[in-house]
Structure formats: C-alpha cells, structure tokens
C-alpha cells in the first residue's frame, strides 16, 4: 500500500521551498503573511493531509465507503481509529455511499459531528441523500475528491461530480493545494455548524493532482484547532428525554419556506466564510483568502477565473506572462456555493476580458458552470466585459502551462477585436472526433 511518508527532514522541505519555480505556488497569501516555518512542515499525501485534518476536528461519527473510486482518506482514518487516535468517535465501515451519507443523517440528528468522503460515482450514488441532508439542516462535512463521472469510466480528475450537486443546498469549497484542503476542513465545520447557517459542506479537492500527490504541509495543530473550532452543540437533537420529530412531510402550504430558509442560511454563510477565514488566518497564520482569492489581479486587463489545483499552474503562467508585459491576473473561487456574487463583481470591475476555466460542462449549453455563474453575476450591471469560457481538463487531461498561455493569447485577441466565440473546448484531439 502506498502509505504515508512523513519527511520532516528540514533540508528536503527547504529545497522545495527555495526552488525558484515553486515560489509562486507559495505566494497565495492575501496579506503577505510570513512563510510557514519549515520545521513545522511535513511532506504528506493530500489524502493524508485531509484525514489528519478530519482527525484534528474531533468527529464523532465517520461513515464512509472506500471505493467508487478509492482514495486513501478512508484508509488513513481507519488507521487513526485502529491506533486509538480519535477519542469519542465511531467509524462505520459501511456498504455503500448511499448508506454512508444516510448513516450521517441519523448520527448528525443525534448530535454527532459527522464526516464522510467520496468521489465521482460515489457522490452520484449519494445524490438523493445529498439533497436530504441539506433540507434537514444537518451540518455534515464531506470531502469530495473530484473525479470524472462515467461513461466512459474514468478515475481521473475533473469537476463534473461536485458540480452536478451544485443545487443541493450544500456549501461547496474548492482547494488549490493540500495545505488548503487541510485548512478548509475546520473552516467547513465552523461555518456549517454555525447556528445561523446549519447547512452541510463539501470540501472539494482534485483527484490524483491533490489526493495522491505529496506536498509539504503544516498539519493542523490540535491546540490551535480546538481554539478555532468549538465542540458541536446543536439546538435540536434526537433525545429520549426531550422527544422531537425530524423529517416531517410538508404540503404545498409550507414547503416553499423550507427552501427559502436554506437560501437564507447560504446568505449568512457568505459572511461567515469570510469571518471564519479571517479568524483562521489570525490563529494559524495562514491566509488562503475568503470566499475568493486573487493573484496579481489589481491592474489586470486579462482576468482568469478558475477553481481547484489548476490555480497553481495559472499563477506560474501569470508570472511568466507578466514578465512579458502582459497585464494578466487571477480570480480564484474558493466558495462556489454560496456563490460570492458581490466579491466577484467587485474583482471583475476593471478587467477588459474575463476568461473562465471550467473542468466541467453543462452538456447541451456548451458551457462550464463557473462561466455561467460569472455571466449571471454581471448581467443587470454596468459591467459589459466580454466573458469567454474554456472547458478543459476533463477526465484528467493534463493542463500544461502552454495551454494557459494560449488561453491568455485568446484573451488578448478578444481585447483587440471583440468576442467571436463564447465557449470552447480546449486541446481537443481532432483525430478522435
């Protein structure tokens, strides 16, 4: 089994940190906070960073199915349980993703802090329960290791799986690297369990690119996390001493208000995510941004938008293009749900062209979902900036720097001569079509 390799040798980390090409990867901090102290960093697999973060968040019930397809998160958590490293926690080695999330409905309603992780096919199998958890206002946190969905069968990365759950009433956060996936986990619990939010949260990480790759990470410290994330104390639980009914049926005279109140929870989550990110930065000294993050966006004429690990590649390309005198920047979406309409509008105010990269497609619209959201944000505003969508990275197709450079080139053409094509697939293989 490919298992945890913790390299705490200072030299190894130092070499990674000092490599000039890696510099931009580590320049994500909004407020130019000090670099992570190298002696605190471990080189771990993304899945391990996730499992470790979950452990530190003190879950009471973990219910997860290890396959469809497999990641090491569930295996790592199993090992923590086997080693007695998570107190007051039951691990259910359940028989399917459908049941995995169903068990958490019961566990969460009984007052437990709950966790699951899944991926592509497993998330699709869960779909009915995904809606149910949010409608019942149960603040479960689930890592979604983003992978393509079948058919054709694929185990590699794209965002079609979590995007397909866009309207289920879950908070959706996307991580750029292993550090961010680790740090988003307690943030997700903090926001989800807020009594004014009470909505479940998906923390999304790119399959293989993050889940199976080893990176230097500062693993969450227990004392700091305890300071950041209070114990879960829900107002309403299944309690034999105070009987309550959960999951009533609603006729047309009351159903609408349940949906409205889910949206109210999302509106409040917009503020709570920002607040939780600020508090995280204060306590841990790491700042990945709030609802969004930006990179060299202030004076950018060409503004790229993306979510997930491709952001790292984009930052490298931006540095290269900037050195060639191209004014290009990045708007990274961390919170896809709730969608940060105001923050996006503000950031896009001065761009000459907006280029949106999507690892998904709404088949039949010929557009990725982030692109659709961005257009919808700008409609009914004075901002009439052209928006061009690029669908790429499907089923794990690599996105090399050259591809990003070409996309920037297309943006330059739009600036010069206006928009000709609104959306296109990138790096298509003509020989297969």
């Amino acid at each position: 089994m490919l298992f945890l390799i913790m390299i705490t040798v200072k030299d190894a980390v130092s070499a990674l940190m000092n490599a000039p090409k890696m510099q931009s990867r580590w320049c994500w901090r909004r407020n130019d906070m000090t670099d992570n102290p190298m002696e605190k960093m471990s080189v771990v697999e993304g899945s391990y960073a996730t499992a470790h973060a979950v452990k530190i968040c003190r879950p009471n019930v973990i219910s997860a199915y290890p396959i469809t397809p497999q990641t090491h998160i569930v295996e790592d958590l199993s090992q923590f349980i086997a080693d007695g490293e998570i107190d007051n926690c039951e691990f259910i080695t359940i028989e399917s993703e459908f049941s995995a999330l169903s068990a958490l409905v019961g566990a969460s309603a009984a007052g437990a802090r709950t966790y699951s992780s899944t991926s592509s096919q497993g998330l699709e199998l869960m779909h009915e329960v995904v809606f149910n958890v949010s409608g019942m206002r149960l603040p479960t946190v689930m890592t979604v290791v983003n992978r393509a969905v079948s058919a054709p069968i694929s185990i590699w990365n794209d965002h079609q799986d979590s995007i397909s759950q866009r309207d289920t009433g879950w908070i959706q956060l996307y991580a750029e690297n292993s550090q961010e996936i680790s740090d988003l986990t307690p943030l997700a619990y903090k926001v989800a369990e807020d009594k004014d939010v009470m909505l479940p949260a998906m923390v999304c990480m790119d399959g293989f690119i993050l889940s199976h790759v080893f990176e230097p990470v500062v693993l969450l410290e227990q004392d700091l996390t305890d300071k950041y994330l209070p114990p879960y104390r829900p107002e309403h639980i299944l309690d034999t001493k105070n009987p309550k009914t959960f999951g009533s049926f609603a006729d047309p005279s009351v159903y609408t208000e349940f949906r409205y109140m889910q949206q109210m929870g999302m509106d409040i989550a917009l503020k709570k995510i920002e607040k939780a990110a600020d508090e995280f930065a204060r306590i841990f000294g790491r700042d990945h941004g709030g609802l969004i993050d930006t990179y060299r966006a202030d004076d950018a004429e060409i503004l790229l938008m993306a979510m997930g690990s491709v952001v790292g590649t984009i930052k490298d390309v931006i540095d290269e293009a900037r050195s060639d005198g191209i004014k290009v920047g990045l708007l990274k979406i961390r919170s896809f749900r709730p969608f940060p309409v105001e923050a996006v509008r503000k950031t896009l105010a001065d761009a000459a062209v907006i280029l949106v990269l999507d690892k998904n497609i709404s088949i039949g619209l010929n557009e990725g979902s982030l692109c659709t959201e961005v257009k919808s944000c700008l409609y009914n505003t004075d901002n009439n900036t052209p928006v061009m969508g690029f669908m790429l990275g499907h089923g794990g197709r690599d996105i090399p720097k050259g591809t990003i450079h070409r996309i920037i080139g297309k943006g330059q053409q739009v600036v010069k001569s206006g928009i000709k094509v609104e959306n296109e697939f990138v790096d298509l293989r003509g020989d297969l079509i």
Binding site: V105, G106, T245
Partner: protein, 290 residues
C-alpha cells in the same frame, strides 16, 4: 398512555397505526424511532404536527436501517447509548425492495437496532403497486388481473430467511392480529443486544380490499391457513413456532379479500387456488406448524 398520539391521519382499521402502537407499547420510552417515506410517515407527521411522543426521524424511502445505524453509532460515540434502543419501523417495500442494501449492511455490521417490517404486501401509500412482499396471484395496480394474468406471478420474498442468514441474534415473524405475540417479540428484541428483525404481517383494508372492521380477522385467517407462519429464529436456528390447531383451507383467507376475488370468478381460478394451498402446505411442513 399511547406513545402514538390520537388524531393522526391513518385510515379506519389501519394496520400501520396498530403495529406502531404495539411496538411503542412493548418497547417503552427509551427508544428512538426511524421510519422511511410511506403511509406511517405521511399520516403521523404533516408539518407542523406530529403524533410521535418519542424521538422520531424520517430521512428517505430506502435508508431506514442506515439512519438507525448512524444514530446508534452517534449515541455510542457521545456516551449516551445506555439502554436506548433504535427501532426501525418500515413497510415491506422499504424493507424488502428498495431498502435491502442498507438493511443487510446494518445487520452484517451488528448494530444494536431492532428493525420491524410492517408487511402489508404492496406499496399502499402510492396506490397499491406490487412489492417483493406481494403474495402469489394478488392483484395490484402493477400486477393486475387481465386476460392473460391471475395477478402477481411470484411468491413473497422470504425476507426473514434472508435476515436470519446474517446470523442475527433474533429474527421473528408476527402479525398485528396477535398483539400479545407481537409485543412479546418486540420486548424480547429490544432486550437483546445486536440487530434484531421482526417481520409483522399487516392486513391493509385499502389495498387488500376488505371492510375496515375486519383487519384483525383477516390477519388471523392468514395465520390459521398457514399462509403466514409465526416462528422465531435465534442465530439462524428456529427456536419457536406457533402451532395451528385447526388449520383452515386457503380459500377462507382468499375469498375475504378483493385482491384475490378473481380466483373465484375467472376461469382457471381453481387451479391457482390449488397452487396457493401448496404454498400453505409447504409452510406447514417446513416450519412444523401442526
């Protein structure tokens, strides 16, 4: 005091309400009940009302056992388990068809839950569609009588045998027409640590088409004709059987219900009744009912 408050919206003579009352009466206050989507859920919990005097949760149609397993795990993790029993109360469709995966998983893992299947032999809440619990030749809206059909072409799935195959400490059949038998078995189940399965036969006047005053009588006929044998299984071994003193011919059960009416009016019906008698005879022999 009844733990299922009066004023719920069950039909007159409703088998679900009787079953729920017997379970609650036998199991006491220290329970949490899980129900799937279905008659019981709809008639007891129209928001903002609830007939449940014990903690109760409904999530979806097919996940009763998984939700129950999650509650049990949570109570253990939080140090609140004590003697609290998690009880699943689900219909035949939610148990024998769409919910089998989660039920099997929960029993295989050995959660401390009691699962009661209230078997009224079809999807009654949605208009009497056949389920895996529908008996041979019963006419339902998806197994209707027709020129070339005598109704449902398959026998009831032997769900208790499937549950017993999990090696559960206690699996039993009962009938809502035998309240003492049912309550004794529920009490026994909740006192056992580990997954227990109770399969309760439950005549539905709406779906089976009989007078609503005859619910109990019809259930008794099923037992007395040996079409619904009452037995107990502990760790895969049969340990108790309710003997039938004066076994009745299956016609007496069949002719009392509209869903079997065609067996007495349609050409070839007699041959079908012979086949149903063979099912009863097999039960007598297999379970040692006489």
């Amino acid at each position: 005091m009844s733990r299922l408050a009066p004023g719920h919206r069950g039909c007159p003579g409703c088998c679900d309400a009787m079953a729920a009352n017997f379970v609650l009466e036998a199991a006491g206050d220290d329970i949490i009940v899980v129900s799937p989507t279905g008659c019981l859920e709809v008639m007891t919990t129209p928001y903002p009302e609830s007939a449940w005097e014990v903690p109760w949760i409904h999530s979806l149609f097919e996940n009763t056992a998984s939700v129950a397993a999650g509650i049990e795990s949570a109570l253990k993790a939080l140090g609140r388990k004590g003697n609290t029993k998690i009880i699943g109360l689900a219909g035949d469709g939610a148990t024998m068809d769409i919910g089998t995966l989660g039920l099997s998983g929960a029993f295989e893992r050995g959660h401390d839950i009691t699962y009661v299947c209230i078997d009224n032999e079809a999807y009654m809440n949605t208009g009497v569609q056949r389920s895996g619990g529908t008996p041979y030749d019963a006419s339902t809206t998806t197994s209707p009588v027709g020129k070339e059909s005598f109704g449902n072409r398959t026998q009831k799935k032997n769900m208790p045998a499937i549950m017993a195959a999990h090696g559960a400490p206690y699996v039993t059949t009962t009938s809502i027409s035998y309240p003492k038998d049912m309550m004794r078995k529920v009490k026994k189940a909740v006192d056992i640590e580990g997954p227990c399965y109770i399969h309760a036969h439950a005549p539905c006047s709406t779906g089976w088409r009989f007078e609503s005053s005859r619910t109990v009588e019809i259930g008794k006929l099923a037992v007395e004709t040996a079409l619904w044998p009452l037995y107990e299984i502990e760790y895969s071994e049969i340990t108790g059987v309710k003997k039938i003193k004066n076994k009745k011919p299956v016609e007496e059960y069949l002719k009392a219900q509209g869903r079997f009416k065609h067996l007495f009016t349609k050409e070839g019906g007699e041959k079908e009744i012979v086949k149903i008698q063979e099912i009863a005879d097999w039960n007598v022999k297999h379970y040692g009912l006489e």
